[in-house]
Subunit: 275 residues, 2 copies
């Protein structure tokens, strides 16, 4: 299968892959070494938004090699996962990840769907993204940034070709369409995308909860983790921050260690007792 989708320039690099161990060995991931998007912390934090006791169907939009979706499947036993990815190269890595003996436990709970997340209407349904078919959607969309270094390869350039506002508008439109009533969407993004995300939520999602993710307690946030409920009208909340490192060195905080190893959840806040 690899030979069919990897050609020319990409072939040499794409074959240069790593197999990375996540969740203390509970799943593994085949990832390209030098091209595309390599998964790590963002995917683990995103996956943590699905509660331990969740059930039903989850779609991981723009799944890449499958890190976030596998992380959910690894921790949450009663959930089935669809990895949705457009790039043939990354789809191939998702297939290779899922085929690993180490991931055998998830074979009957994870499927891979090659589809363009930005499709609409009949085209979207025909591609396999059925209306109201999911209970959970997680997404970690590609992004542009003038201040980022130029993407060093074709694949990343392609992933970042859409403008940020297009990405959030189109991906969240699909997230809303495929979610069942009261379904939850989870997004990890950069803080600068907050306005675009809230604009794309308009008329689609409410009960928004924003958790800023700071490298250290005194740093600015590097990411925001955003969850929301389809068609809810409840007010937006800003949650206590998640801090990645503690101490002077590169050591992770205890909370981050637990989250990134699939040992704890980062669920939505309980409703206030008095209103």
């Amino acid at each position: 299968m690899t030979e069919n989708v990897i050609s020319g320039e990409l072939k040499k690099d794409a074959l240069d892959y790593t197999i990375d161990v996540f969740h203390r060995g509970r799943f593994q991931l085949v990832q390209p070494k030098k091209i595309g998007h390599r998964s790590g912390m963002d995917a683990m934090i995103l996956a943590a938004t699905i509660p331990d006791d969740a059930s039903g169907k989850l779609a991981d939009l723009g799944a890449g090699a499958g890190a976030a979706g596998l992380a959910v499947a690894s921790r949450v036993e009663n959930i089935t996962v669809t990895l949705v990815e457009q790039s043939p190269v990354m789809l191939d890595f998702a297939h290779r990840s899922l085929a690993l003996e180490a991931n055998a436990a998830y074979h009957n709970r994870i499927e891979i769907l090659g589809a363009d997340v930005t499709l609409t209407g009949t085209a979207r349904r025909t591609a396999g993204l059925a209306d109201r078919s999911c209970n959970w959607v997680i997404l970690n969309p590609p992004y542009n940034d003038a201040s980022d270094r130029r993407p060093p390869d074709e694949l990343r350039a392609q992933a970042r070709a859409m403008s940020d506002s297009d990405v959030f508008e189109k991906w969240l439109r699909t997230a809303c369409a495929i979610l069942a009533p009261d379904g939850q969407v989870s997004v990890i993004a950069r803080p600068g995308s907050i306005g675009l995300i809230l604009d794309a939520f308009e008329g689609r999602f409410g009960a928004t909860e924003i958790t800023p993710v700071h490298p250290r307690p005194d740093d600015e946030a590097l990411r925001i983790l955003v969850t929301a409920i389809k068609h809810s009208r409840a007010a937006l909340k800003i949650c206590p921050p998640l801090v990645i490192h503690e101490g002077a060195g590169h050591q992770f905080s205890e909370r981050m260690i637990a989250l990134s190893n699939g040992l704890s959840e980062l669920p939505r806040r309980p409703a206030r007792k008095s209103k």
Copy 2:
């Protein structure tokens, strides 16, 4: 002067006022006891966004009795302040506050302007809000909320009559108009207003910095403190949170004690070293 503006129902309540001491005695405030908006923590946090070494002219839009503007004048020696307020009753309290012997030190640096913040164009200029005349604008706009208790009095009802989106759009339009190039706006608001504020910033303000204000470390934010620079195109930042209480009781955090007593600033973040 009091007799002219207070009549009927309001008169009895409005005469029931308190004189509150702020900044460990460095200024005092005459406030209505039972009507209108009573100032406290929000005004002190808002004022803290003006750096110790700031100079030039500041406008406090919707100043009420003058708490935030007086707090800036008390800590920042090289700044002149215009308290802008539409309500005749609250304007009267601002005049009474400024007339206090305890506030004599600020008489030559504070002026009071009776004007509607939502005016535009010639009407706004005629009312005394000149284009590009300020270096700093602070605002703590009135708000509506379906979940709030109904306003128990006429004055508060009036202050909250506009929709939230109208308030932010109109007040921030005026803030942009009266700020000089590179001028700073500071807003304190509820977290749910973040989308409206960012929408109203569009085309007007950038380099937005959001500081969530949490009652305790594990609580959701109760307020957001937002600063931005006129016509900047720099990216949005989410800053480390400000936590009001520490320990089990109602004790303030050390940082909050310093801020609310005008002993320290809460300035914008320095630019990153490497970009």
